[in-house]
């Protein structure tokens, strides 16, 4: 009965190999904010070292892109540098049947930068608002050289754009009438802003603290005209003295489970928050 044996062995082998191939690593998609894409990548690398059975794929595209992907069900985790709007939460619930869970994972201080050759080093929120809405057009009016201000902003698909619009231009009143002037240059990336500010003596732009290099000059920001100017740093963002800092979020549909839960626990753990600090963002204070 040799042939029977062969059949049995091959059936067993087939069963064995098929179970092996079914035990594929779990793949989790993380998508969204360009500000957070490097942070997400750093988390993912460290996490995959510890949990080789889970594989994470991190992509950018903007906070809105991440939210759209969460609505379409093409990502499990959306990274957002702004709070999700109620309409967007409704969309997620409508398409997935689950309510949205928001997890605050870090803080980001937005630095306002100018060319190192620019003598201006302090501005109030009111002055920043006037610059970006186009009411103030020349550095002369702010104590600088007689040169028209070249104003740089991120594109509208960026959470940074929306945050700056609502908290600086509109001074915290999210539905306010202020708008970026039509003459403001919309740059496709934070890197492009960093580069253009180095190139142009009359430029001003804003970006996450992580993008500011020693070559840039970060403006000290005054909450009100009479207040002392505060430079952006991890400390001033954590103790909330720097006025332009914002929370960063992860969004998921429903309660976290499986690999997603392990990942979020890791992000909020001291090891995950240490990565936040290493990536030049601001860790949450526990």
């Amino acid at each position: 009965m040799n042939s029977k044996k062969i059949v049995l062995v091959s059936a067993a082998a087939l069963f064995f190999f098929s179970t092996v191939s079914f035990a594929k690593p779990e793949v989790i998609q993380i998508k969204g904010s360009d500000t957070m894409v490097n942070l997400g990548q750093a988390w993912a690398e460290e996490f995959m070292n510890k949990n080789p059975q889970t594989s994470l794929a991190v992509t950018g595209g903007g906070s809105g892109t991440g939210i759209a992907a969460l609505i379409n069900g093409t990502t499990q985790i959306a990274q957002c540098s702004r709070e999700m709007k109620p309409e967007e939460k409704d969309e997620v619930t409508k398409s997935t049947g689950k309510s949205v869970k928001e997890i605050k994972v870090a803080l980001d201080a937005l630095a306002v930068i100018v060319n190192p050759g620019n003598p201006v080093s302090e501005l109030s929120i009111d002055q920043l608002s006037a610059i970006f809405t186009g009411k103030v057009k020349n550095w002369k009016e702010l104590g600088g050289a007689d040169a028209p201000i070249l104003v740089l902003s991120r594109e509208r698909n960026s959470g940074t754009h929306v945050y700056f619009l609502e908290h600086v231009l509109r001074k915290g009143n999210a539905k306010g009438p202020e708008e970026f002037a039509s003459s403001v240059l919309m740059m496709p990336s934070s890197q492009a802003i960093a580069q253009e500010v180095l190139r142009s003596r009359s430029a001003i732009g804003y970006l996450g603290l992580g993008y500011v290099t020693k070559a840039h000059k970060a403006i000290g920001v005054k909450k009100n005209a009479g207040d002392p100017a505060v430079s952006p740093s991890i400390e001033t963002a954590q103790n909330a003295t720097y006025p332009i800092s914002r929370p960063l979020y992860l969004y998921i549909a429903g309660e976290p489970e499986g690999g997603v839960k392990t990942f979020i626990d890791f992000v909020l753990s001291p090891a995950g928050q240490e990565i936040v600090r290493a990536m030049d963002f601001v860790p949450l204070t526990q």
Partner: protein
């Protein structure tokens, strides 16, 4: 006529189906564009959309004035054509009429190779070389201007223009040139008064297809034109094109919102413009046949 063999019938139907599917796709794309884009005009009139000067799609209330975007695309395209057509014509005439055969072959292959460089690579090269150069030469506060975009796109339209134009010039019968030369015309006179007019439909088609290439370009333009949605007064100011607007904002637009529809409406405008351009090119290409 002999009866068709079965495999011949099969192959013929397969080829017919392939052709038919292409047309079907174009029609479906247009229907999709219309369906998504026309939703905008429930809240905004077509006139407001085409002539409004303010593009604030995520404000409360939003403003969907696409005129700065349309003019941005037009400015850049006109600039690119002014730059690329004279050079393109000269290049094509040189390759087809003047250059020795071996040199012409090398030149044509090189120009066509240009078309193979991905536009994002050209955009990046433009960003680090052309933009600072423009800033320096014109002493501007920024080099991210319509002029930088025009120069870059003129360069990108060149392969299309040269390649099609060279084909048109080569297609002019030899006897035309010989006749002109025999009547005592110089080589320049023969090219200018005989060959170019004879190939005029091909020349115009080449320019039209070049325009089509320029107006649809996205990535390079987004990287080097500054994207400020304001009607430009000169080529030395930043502009925002229709294509860059769609690319930059589509990621953020909430599906089904007026903003989402407005981006498709811009898509319709672009589609209509390129359709008209291609139609004109086609008209001139087939005029003499």
């Amino acid at each position: 006529m002999a009866r068709k063999r079965p495999h011949e019938f099969l192959i013929e139907s397969a080829i017919f189906a392939a052709g038919g599917i292409t047309i079907l796709f174009v029609v479906l794309i247009f229907i999709f564009l219309l369906k998504e884009g026309l939703a905008l005009f429930r809240s905004v009139s077509v006139f407001e959309f085409l002539t409004g000067k303010d593009w604030y799609p995520i404000s409360h209330p939003p403003k969907f004035g696409a005129l700065p975007l349309i003019l941005g695309s037009v400015w850049i395209t006109v600039g690119a054509i002014v730059i690329s057509v004279p050079i393109g014509v000269a290049c094509a005439v040189y390759i087809a009429e003047v250059a020795p055969k071996w040199l012409g072959e090398i030149l044509k292959a090189s120009v066509e190779f240009l078309a193979a460089i991905p536009s994002i690579v050209l955009g990046f090269i433009g960003l680090v070389t052309l933009v600072p150069l423009v800033q320096k030469i014109f002493n501007l506060s920024t080099g991210l201007t319509a002029l930088s975009g025009s120069l870059m796109l003129g360069f990108m339209a060149m392969p299309t223009i040269v390649s099609i134009m060279e084909d048109a010039l080569t297609a002019v019968p030899r006897s035309y040139r010989e006749g002109a030369l025999a009547l005592g015309a110089t080589r320049w006179q023969a090219i200018r008064k005989v060959v170019l007019p004879a190939a005029s439909s091909g020349v115009i088609a080449a320019v039209m297809l070049g325009i089509g290439r320029v107006i649809g370009e996205t990535m390079a333009v987004m990287m080097i034109t500054g994207n400020a949605a304001r009607i430009p007064n000169s080529l030395l100011e930043p502009v925002r094109t229709m294509t860059a607007t769609i690319a930059a904002e589509m990621g953020e637009a909430v599906q089904g919102s007026a903003h989402y529809a407005s981006l498709f409406a811009i898509g319709i405008v672009l589609f209509v413009i390129t359709f008209l351009i291609n139609l004109t090119a086609d008209f001139f290409l087939h005029r003499n046949k």
